[in-house]
C-alpha cells in the first residue's frame, strides 16, 4: 500500500513538472474532495481499508503473472515504481520503454484518483518516497540453468535463443538458420537433480553450428569450446579468458549506421553470453565481470567517437583484470603469508590458482613449510597443483580425499580456494571442499578460505542441490584390474552416475576468509557486498 502511494507521488511529481496550471485546479479539486472525505472517514474507516486493499490486491497480482520482465512490460504499478528510479540512471530509453512508461503513468493516475478518495494516505506518502529505491524486487528472476525440469522455462529459453539470432541479422551477411544452439541433455539424470543440465563432453555445442558463424564472434566460439571441453577451468582463468575474448569482440565491432554504440554493443553481447552459458553455465565471477562490462558500455556517452569508445572500453577491461584479479591476488598473498609460519604443514585441495600463488610467494619469502595436496576423482586437479608446487621446489605429499582422516593429524593449517562466496556466508567451491572443512573441524585444524572480492555474489544457498553443475557422467568410468564395471551404465535402467562440480560449505566450518579487503569472517560477506554497491 505504501508502494502504491509512493508511486502515486512520484508519478504525480512527473505530472507536476509537465503541466502546472492544470495541476493547480486539480489540487483545489482534491482539497475539496479531501474535506468531504474527512467527514466520511469518521463514519466508516474500516470499509475504506477493505476497499483500498481490494484496489491494491489486483495491482500486485498483475506483476506476479507478468514478471518475466519483457521490455514492453505492461502496467503494474509496483513494477513502474521500481522501474522509474532505475530508469533514471540509464541515459537513453528505447521507444518501447517510453511507451510503457506513459501507459504506466496513465494507469497510475487512474489508481491515484481511486486512492485519493481514501484521503489520509497523503500524509504518510512523504516518508515512503525513499523506500522504493531500497525495496528492490526481492525475487530476482530464476536463472535458466536451474529450471531444466520446467518445460515452460525451456520453451522460453529456446525462443530467446531464436530471437537473438534475429537480432544479429541486421549487421551480418544473409545467413539463414544460424542460431545459438540449444544443447540437449545426456544420459540418465539422478532424480534429485532433474532441474539441472547434464551435458556430455562428446557432444560439443559447436556441432550444431554451421561454418562460417556470423552471429557469434569466432573468439567466443573458441572460448565456448574451451569451456565445454574443460580446457579452460578454474574461476579466475575462465573470467580472464572471457574478458580477453570480449576485448577482441569490441576491437572487431563496428557500429551499424543508425544505432548507438552503447545500446547496440550490449545487444550484440547477449547472444554471445547465451552461447557461453549453453557451453557451460556461467560462474559467479563471470557473471560479475559481465555486469561490469555492460555497465561500462552503457555509460559510454553518446557523443563519443567509436575509436575513442573502444579505447575506453579496452582500458576498462584491462583495469578490471588488473585490479580485481592480479592486484587482488598480490594483496591476498600479503595477508596470507602472515598466517604461514615456519614448520607449518599446509593442506590444500585441488588446484586453486590463488592458493598456489600464495604458496609460491611464501616459499620465495623463505618460509619453511611443507604442503599436502589432496586430490579427488574424477577431475584429479590436484596433479596440476602438485606439478606447479614441485617445480617451485616445495616439499609436497599427495593423497586422495579418502585418506583425509589418515593425513589430518599431521596438518597445521588448511588453505582452500573458493569459486564464489554467497551472501549468507556459505562458500561455494569445488566438490569435496566442504568435506575437507568438516574433517578439519573435527580435528581442530584451522580452515582459511582465500577469495577475491569480485567473486562475492548476492545469491544465497544452503545446500548443494538447488543450484549446481552436473558434469559429464562418463568421467566416473574407470578401468581397474582390467575390468570396467560401469562400462554400459546407460543400458542398466536403475543405475545413475552423479558427477557434481560444486558444493557449499557452511560458515561454521570456515575460520577465516582472506580477501583483498582484508581478513574477514565468513559472515561479513554481505557487508562487503553492501560496501561495494555503495561504491558503485
Amino acid at each position: 500500500m505504501m508502494l502504491i502511494s509512493a508511486a502515486m507521488t512520484l508519478v504525480v511529481g512527473h505530472e507536476l513538472q509537465s503541466a502546472e496550471p492544470k495541476e493547480e485546479k486539480q489540487r483545489l479539486r482534491k482539497e475539496k474532495k479531501q474535506h468531504k472525505k474527512n467527514k466520511k472517514d469518521d463514519r466508516g474507516p474500516p470499509e475504506k481499508e477493505k476497499e483500498k486493499e481490494k484496489a491494491s490486491v489486483p495491482a500486485p497480482s498483475k506483476p506476479a503473472t507478468q514478471s518475466p520482465a519483457h521490455k514492453a512490460a505492461p502496467v503494474p504499478v509496483n513494477a513502474s515504481a521500481s522501474e522509474s528510479p532505475v530508469a533514471a540512471e540509464k541515459p537513453a530509453k528505447s521507444k518501447a520503454e517510453l511507451r510503457a512508461e506513459r501507459r504506466a503513468r496513465q494507469d497510475s493516475e487512474r489508481a491515484s484518483k481511486q486512492g485519493k478518495k481514501e484521503g489520509g494516505q497523503q500524509s504518510t506518502s512523504s516518508k515512503p518516497k525513499a523506500t522504493p529505491n531500497e525495496l528492490q524486487p526481492v525475487v530476482k528472476r530464476l536463472p535458466d540453468h536451474v529450471q531444466v525440469d520446467d518445460p515452460v522455462a525451456l520453451k522460453k529459453l529456446a525462443k530467446k535463443l531464436e530471437r537473438q539470432q534475429k537480432s544479429g541479422q541486421g549487421c551480418s551477411l544473409n545467413i539463414t538458420g544460424v542460431k545459438v544452439p540449444l544443447r540437449s541433455d545426456y544420459g540418465y539424470k539422478v532424480s534429485l537433480f532433474s532441474h539441472l543440465h547434464q551435458y556430455s563432453r562428446k557432444n560439443p555445442p559447436t556441432q550444431q553450428i554451421s561454418i562460417p558463424v556470423t552471429v557469434i564472434h569466432p573468439s567466443i566460439v573458441r572460448l565456448g569450446l574451451q569451456y565445454s571441453q574443460g580446457i579452460i577451468a578454474g574461476s579466475n582463468a575462465r573470467s580472464v579468458a572471457l574478458l580477453h575474448a570480449f576485448k577482441q569482440v569490441i576491437q572487431d565491432y563496428s557500429t551499424p549506421p543508425n544505432e548507438e554504440l552503447s545500446r547496440d554493443l550490449v545487444n550484440k553481447l547477449s547472444p554471445y553470453i547465451s552461447f557461453l552459458s549453453q557451453c557451460r553455465p556461467l560462474s559467479a565471477s563471470m557473471g560479475n565481470a559481465i555486469k561490469y562490462i555492460k555497465k561500462e558500455i552503457s555509460n559510454i556517452p553518446s557523443q563519443c567517437k567509436e575509436e575513442e569508445a573502444k579505447r575506453i572500453l579496452q582500458e576498462c577491461i584491462d583495469s578490471y583484470i588488473n585490479e580485481k584479479i592480479i592486484l587482488a591476488s598480490e594483496a591476498i598473498s600479503k595477508y596470507a603469508i602472515e598466517k604461514i609460519s615456519d614448520g607449518d604443514v599446509i593442506l590444500v585441495y585441488g588446484c586453486s590458482s590463488l592458493v598456489n600463488h600464495i604458496l609460491c610467494e611464501a616459499f620465495e619469502k623463505q618460509r619453511k613449510f611443507r604442503v599436502i595436496v589432496v586430490d579427488s576423482r574424477p577431475r584429479l586437479e590436484g596433479r596440476e597443483a602438485l606439478r606447479r608446487l614441485v617445480k617451485k621446489g616445495i616439499r609436497c605429499t599427495y593423497v586422495l580425499i579418502s585418506a583425509l582422516s589418515y593425513i589430518l593429524p599431521e596438518v597445521s593449517k588448511v588453505f582452500l580456494g573458493a569459486h564464489a562466496l554467497l551472501a549468507n556466508g556459505y562458500v561455494m567451491s569445488r566438490v569435496g571442499t566442504s568435506q575437507i572443512a568438516l574433517v578439519a573441524k573435527a580435528y581442530n585444524v584451522p580452515v582459511l578460505v582465500c577469495c577475491e572480492t569480485y567473486k562475492f555474489c548476492e545469491r544465497v544457498q544452503t545446500d548443494s542441490f538447488v543450484s549446481n553443475e552436473l558434469d559429464d557422467p562418463d568421467d566416473l568410468i574407470v578401468t581397474r584390474n582390467g575390468k570396467t564395471h560401469l562400462e554400459n551404465w546407460q543400458t542398466v535402467k536403475s543405475l545413475g552416475l552423479l558427477n557434481l562440480v560444486y558444493d557449499v560449505t557452511p560458515p561454521d566450518f570456515v575460520d577465516l576468509v582472506i580477501t583483498d579487503l582484508g581478513m574477514i569472517p565468513c559472515t561479513s560477506v554481505p557487508v562487503v557486498l553492501r560496501v561495494k554497491n555503495v561504491d558503485q
Partner: protein, 351 residues
Amino acid sequence: MPGADKETELSERIEAFLSELKRCGSGAGSLRGSAETARETTSLLRRITAQARWSNAGDLMEIIRKEGRRMTAGQPSETTVGNMVRRVLKIIREEYARSRGSTEEADQQESLHKLLTSGGSSEDNFRQHFTHLKANVIEAINELLTELEGTTDNISMQALEHIHSNEVIMTIGRSRTVEAFLKDAARKRKFHVIVAECAPFCQGHEMATSLSKEDIETTVIPDAAIFAVMSRVNKVIIGTQTVLANGGLRAVNGTHTLALAAKHHSTPLIVCAPMFKLSPQWDSALQELVLRSFCFLLPGEILSKVNAHCPVFDYVPPELITLFISNIGGNAPSYIYRLMSELYHPEDHEL
C-alpha cells in the same frame, strides 16, 4: 607310515593356506571375502584337531596356538584368521570344562572374589586326558562352521526391520554383507541407494552394478561428494573389515569421513558385521598399500619427488556409530565389549 603321511599332508595344507593368505593380502583389494577366510581357517583347524598328535587339551591348545601365530603372521591385516583361532581355543576350553564336569560360568567369570580366593590360574588343569574330548571338540567346531555359513543370511533376514520404503541409503565401497542385506530388503521395499566409489580402487562400482541388477535405484558418486549429498540421505549402512573391542571399527579408507558427515547431519550409521569379525587386538602397523597403486595417477618425474600415501583402512571411533547388526541381532557399540568376553577367553587375546 600313515601317521607321517597325514602329518605331511597336514603341513602341506597349512603351507598352502598360508601362501594363499599372503597372496591375497599383497594384491590389490581382497580376492576373497572374510567369510570365506573364516570358513577355511576353521576347517583347517578342524583338520588339525583331527589329524595332529595330541593327548590332552593343553597339547592341542599349544598346537593350535602355534599354527595360529604362523597364520596371523602371514597376513596380519586379515584378522578373521586370528579370531577363528581364538574361537576354537575357547571351544576347547569349554569342552574340557564340560568333560571335567564343572560348570563353565564359574570358570569364566573373573570376579574380584575369584581373584582373591583362587589365586593362580588353572593352567595345569588342561593336562587331564579325556577320551571323548576329540569328538566333542570336532563336533563343536562343526557347529561353528554351520554358524559361519549362515551369518550372511542371518544378517539379511533383519533387513526389513531397518529399511522402510522410499529411503535413501548411502554406502561406501563393496561389502558382501551389505549387498546381501540390501538385496533382501529390495525384495519387498523400494528404496534408493547411493554408493560412494571409494578411490583409488573403486570397489563401489562393482557394488553399484550388482545392486542395480536387482532393480534397486543406485547412484554412484565420487568420494568428494559424500558430504554434499549427505543431507538427503536417511541412513548410512556400511560393512567393515574388523570390529574392535571398544565398539570402534577398522573399515575401508574413507569411512571415517563418511561417519563424520553422518554425525553432522544426524544420520544413523549402521554397521553390518558378523560376529567373526570381532577382534580383541589392535595392530596399528598395517596401514599402507604399496605405492604402485599411484603410478596410474601421477607421471613419473613428479612421483619421484613426492611422498604419496594410500592408506587401506580407517579407524572409526564408537561415538560415530549408531548400531551394529550381526548374526546374533542388533547391538549398540557400547555392548560390544560384553559380546567379546563371551566369544573369547581373556587369556587367548594374545595368541
